[in-house]
């Protein structure tokens, strides 16, 4: 009934009611809030900012590492402040506790698999592919040439690499090069994922990195770094 009454035009803001200064102000505020909510993820992605959300405290993850990569909205789980989600959050935390770096499942001793199916196995000069990857979570200022550094430490690097692989599998803004048993992807992440360090990066004042180079043997990660 109410619905039909509303359709008939008997709303409080009927067209015969002139908009006062307060009315215009309210509309302007609503428009600005909407504009901010729309632009925030794009600005964060584009410039690597971390503008607060309108519901910031509800979005924050109690188990998040101190530094995380800038996440796209689809990567950031929507968390409500209601008690109903608390049990789900607790379950997620319990299952995360069994995961290496909060992401990788150990399928055999020292062999880890990511949600997208990438495998991290023993090998490389460092003894394990994960240890090789750790080189790309810190700058090596004296290393000749460029040295890509992921944002967010190991956790951030692993999430970004998995995201890059997901995009590559969907052929989303990526190139694929196959050479013998190696597959080399270059994936445009369309957001900041790290920066360029090393001697050359330092000379260029550490430019922002938005792409990921991913070198695989089948699904084994040989190396991955931002560029």
């Amino acid at each position: 009934m109410n619905r039909s009454r509303n359709r008939s035009g008997s709303q409080p803001f009927g067209k015969h009611m002139p908009l006062g200064t307060k009315g215009i102000g309210s509309i302007a505020v609503v428009l600005l809030v909407g504009l901010y909510a729309f632009a925030r993820p794009h600005l964060n992605d584009r410039f690597g900012w971390q503008l607060p959300g309108l519901n910031q405290h509800a979005e924050q993850d109690a188990f998040a590492v101190p530094t995380r990569p800038t996440q796209s909205p689809e990567q950031t789980p929507n968390r409500s402040a209601s008690g109903a989600s608390d049990a789900t959050d607790q379950d997620a935390r319990n299952s995360n506790a069994d995961l290496r770096y909060g992401l990788l499942r150990e399928v055999r001793p020292n062999e880890f698999v990511s949600p997208e199916g990438l495998r991290y196995v023993p090998g490389s000069a460092e003894g394990h592919r994960l240890e090789h990857l750790r080189r790309h979570t810190e700058d090596m200022p004296s290393r000749p040439g460029k040295h890509g550094v992921f944002d967010g430490g190991m956790e951030g690097a692993l999430v970004t690499i998995d995201d890059a692989y997901g995009r590559a599998k969907k052929k989303q803004r990526s190139t694929k090069q196959t050479d013998r048993d190696r597959t080399i992807y270059t994936v445009d992440m369309e957001r900041r994922v790290g920066y360029v360090g090393g001697r050359e990066g330092k000379r260029q004042n550490h430019p922002i990195a938005r792409r990921v180079k991913l070198v695989l043997e089948d699904t084994i990660v040989i190396t991955a770094y931002p560029l």
Binding site: A125, E138, M140, S142, P144, M154, K213, T223
Partner: protein
């Protein structure tokens, strides 16, 4: 800029990589094509004194200092030295200035890519 996490609180220093390199890797664009020298996997045998070039990122291998020549890759899980076929990391090491001179590859070295320990 990046903080580390508690799982890495007592991590060893990062592997510095090659000492003497011939190029930035033409395959992955990010690695250093460093000279490695085979030290052999049998201590009772004389040193082979043979070298190879390897990218420290994608692990492409060249048997000479020309990285435009034929290459292959180290197997991801069964890494072996391409000279003596012993374990790659035990049976070879990054070559220093003297090693490179002994190999006769000094002219191929890009001095701008020299690692810290040999500058």
């Amino acid at each position: 800029m990046n903080q580390d996490h508690d799982q890495n609180s007592a991590q060893p220093p990062l592997n510095p990589g090659p000492i003497r390199s011939v190029a930035i890797c033409p395959i992955c664009d990010g690695g250093l094509c460093g000279v490695r020298i085979c030290t052999g996997d049998d201590p009772t045998e004389p040193l082979p004194d043979r070298g190879f070039v390897m990218c420290d990122e994608c692990e492409a291998v060249w048997m000479g200092p020309d990285v435009q020549s034929e290459h292959h890759y180290v197997d991801a899980q069964h890494t072996e030295c391409p000279v003596c076929h012993g374990g790659l990391w035990a049976a070879s090491r990054w070559a220093d200035r003297d090693d490179v001179q002994r190999l006769g590859w000094s002219d191929a070295i890009d001095a701008g890519l020299d690692g810290e320990s040999d500058v």
